[in-house]
């Protein structure tokens, strides 16, 4: 991306030109990203009358309330459970789908076609893709009908829909694409000659996977992880709908708080969640220079 310049070349003229080009972006992000975050941060220190009215001030009451609540720990544990399960499944599926497309499909045009086939649903509605599991997982859904028909079960399984299982299925369904794309991109950059050289040197299939493919896909895995983790941790509607109200996550509890106008508690919980998210993302960013990676 920046083949002609290095950080040393930051002349005042280049600075001005750069800022002119990105100024429209900054003019959107400041009022609609930076300011809202600051508003939420401020609201977390405000007092409330309980009816949505906010009194400017500085109190840590909301934080004390959130941190003292037994519910908070439960919510975080549930969120971490959903995040971890989703991460593992999207990683495994995403890695092998990308691997298949890059290393096994010989015709590149076909590989691009199959890749696009995987990405098309990303451009359609998430909510619709989520509810589309109802006819399959429901008590009278296709899976239960099939299992009953085969005689595997006598009673329809109730754990399929409106359960933690359904939540994880919906997440994996929606988010695997966020693993496939970056891992596909890193794998596509691996020089095939490297693998041929490894074969000539007597490497086994497992050696190639362990010593070449996985290490060289690391940046893709890191990028995909950032997407999956931040989306699952920030989600509320999949948890709300697919668990049938039985499970909650940090953000779905936030949503309920907002619904009953408990803004300061909601804001305090949001600030804590954001801090956790920032910690996780920066930890991942330590392993990969994402800007270098994206602009390469």
């Amino acid at each position: 991306m920046q083949p002609r310049s290095s950080p040393a070349q930051k002349s005042p003229r280049a600075n001005l030109a750069g800022w002119l080009y990105v100024s429209p972006l900054v003019l959107v992000l400041v009022p609609f990203f930076v300011a809202p975050i600051l508003v939420v941060l401020a609201a977390s220190f405000f007092a409330t009358d309980g009816f949505g009215g906010l009194t400017p001030g500085f109190t840590l009451a909301s934080y004390v309330e959130v941190l003292h609540s037994a519910l908070t720990l439960k919510l975080y544990l549930a969120t971490i459970k959903f995040t971890a399960l989703t991460w593992i499944f999207t990683l495994i599926i995403g890695f092998f789908v990308a691997y298949f497309l890059v290393f096994h499909v010989r015709n590149q045009l076909l590989a691009i076609g199959l890749f696009l086939l995987c990405t098309v649903p990303f451009w359609t509605s998430n909510i619709i893709r989520m509810i589309s599991w109802i006819p399959l997982l429901g008590k009278e859904g296709l899976i239960n009908q099939a299992l009953l028909g085969l005689g595997v079960i006598r009673q329809p399984l109730e754990v399929l829909l409106f359960s933690d299982l359904a939540v994880v299925i919906a997440y994996v369904h929606q988010l695997t694409i966020f693993m496939i794309v970056p891992i596909f991109n890193s794998m596509a950059r691996i020089d095939k000659k490297l693998i041929e050289a490894a074969i000539d040197a007597g490497a086994s299939r497992f050696d190639i996977m362990r010593l070449i493919v996985v290490p060289m896909s690391k940046s893709g895995i890191a990028l995909g992880t950032i997407f999956v983790v931040s989306i699952v941790m920030g989600d509320f509607f999949v948890v709300k709908v697919m668990s049938g109200g039985g499970s909650a996550s940090v953000v779905s509890a936030f949503y309920e708080d907002v619904g009953v106008l408990q803004y300061p508690t909601a804001a305090a919980s949001a600030v804590l969640l954001t801090l956790v998210l920032v910690a996780i993302v920066s930890l991942i960013l330590r392993t990969v220079d994402i800007r270098q990676e994206i602009t390469r």
Binding site: N15, G18, Y21, F33, V39, S230, R291, T295
Partner: protein, 306 residues
């Protein structure tokens, strides 16, 4: 996906030649270019097929179920065939203001698309060279991408309230959606720009082109497929955006908000009918975008030969 879209012209594969020469050794390869397929191919092909079926299968279930007649329920088997639930969408009060929210969502998506393309293109130009504070802007953008949408939406809503402004779909929701589409747009521009050959731009300058001329006559035509990809992201991400719009759309719903309220209180196939309609719109947009990218590439290929 952006990088692959931008990659589409490069179907000439340097690997094909080299791989032929090493074909004998390739029998043991994890990914031979020629010769017999290893067993892993069949395992992974099965996994891939299963993934694609799981990806599309449920969606097709609801499209099929939306064509039931009045007796229809939420699960199989199909009960009759009709367009009853589609008619239900536009006539029933129970299902809410589907037509109005559909209109608003399309208008909003068009506005978001135009702004996303222009702003992402300019930012893409800016990020080509390092400048003081570029890393800050970059991470601000990443932050906007990974921040929980509902939290950002609440913050935007509270901000508008504090400033005494009315939240509406064309002000607060527009901004909230841009905070989501712009990072994607700029990331796509990064991928597109990294494949742009600077020689063309410099040649334009050498021939006496002004900065604006080189952008208009060289860069935009060359980058056109990438810009279409940015537009595709802008439109579809806005059209389906939900979490950030929830607290910012004001009193009038966008379509995803309408669908959301339907998931909570409508238990008839009209929910599926709405899903079918909105997916058709998405597919038209995706098809038109990918089609025009292919068309541009084709035109380019033929004019290069002629």
């Amino acid at each position: 996906m952006s990088a692959v879209l931008a990659d589409m012209p490069k179907t000439d594969m340097p690997e094909t030649e080299t791989s032929k020469t090493v074909a004998p050794a390739a029998t043991k390869a994890i990914a031979p270019r020629t010769g017999r397929r290893p067993w892993t191919f069949y395992v992974l092909a099965t996994l891939f097929a299963a993934y694609v079926i799981a990806l599309y299968g449920p969606m097709f279930c609801i499209y099929i179920l939306s064509f039931q007649d009045i007796r229809g329920g939420l699960v199989f088997p199909m009960k009759g065939h009709s367009l009853h639930w589609f008619a239900d969408l536009v006539t029933q009060v129970r299902t809410g203001d589907v037509k109005g929210s559909f209109d608003r969502s399309i208008k909003l998506a068009v506005i978001v698309t135009v702004i996303t393309v222009v702003v992402s293109f300019l930012a893409g130009l800016g990020f080509r060279k390092r400048f003081g504070g570029d890393t800050f802007v970059f991470y601000m953008m990443i932050g906007s991408l990974v921040a929980p949408g509902l939290v950002l939406g609440l913050g935007t809503g509270l901000l508008f309230q504090a400033l005494g402004l009315n939240a509406s779909w064309y002000t607060s929701a527009l901004g909230a959606q841009l905070s989501w589409t712009l990072p994607f747009g700029v990331l796509v521009m990064f991928a597109v720009m990294s494949r742009f050959n600077h020689v063309w731009e410099e040649a334009a300058y050498d021939l006496g082109a002004s900065r604006w001329q080189s952008i208009r006559l060289v860069m935009i035509p060359v980058l056109a497929p990438g810009l279409v990809a940015v537009a595709l992201f802008g439109f579809t991400l806005s059209y389906d955006e939900f979490a950030r719009s929830l607290q910012t759309a004001g009193s009038l719903n966008t379509l995803p908000l309408e669908i959301w309220s339907m998931t909570l209180n409508v238990t008839s196939p009209s929910l599926y009918a709405l899903g079918t309609v909105t997916t058709i719109v998405s597919f038209i947009v995706i098809g038109a975008s990918l089609g025009s990218i292919v068309l541009i590439q084709k035109k380019r290929g033929s004019s290069a030969k002629g």
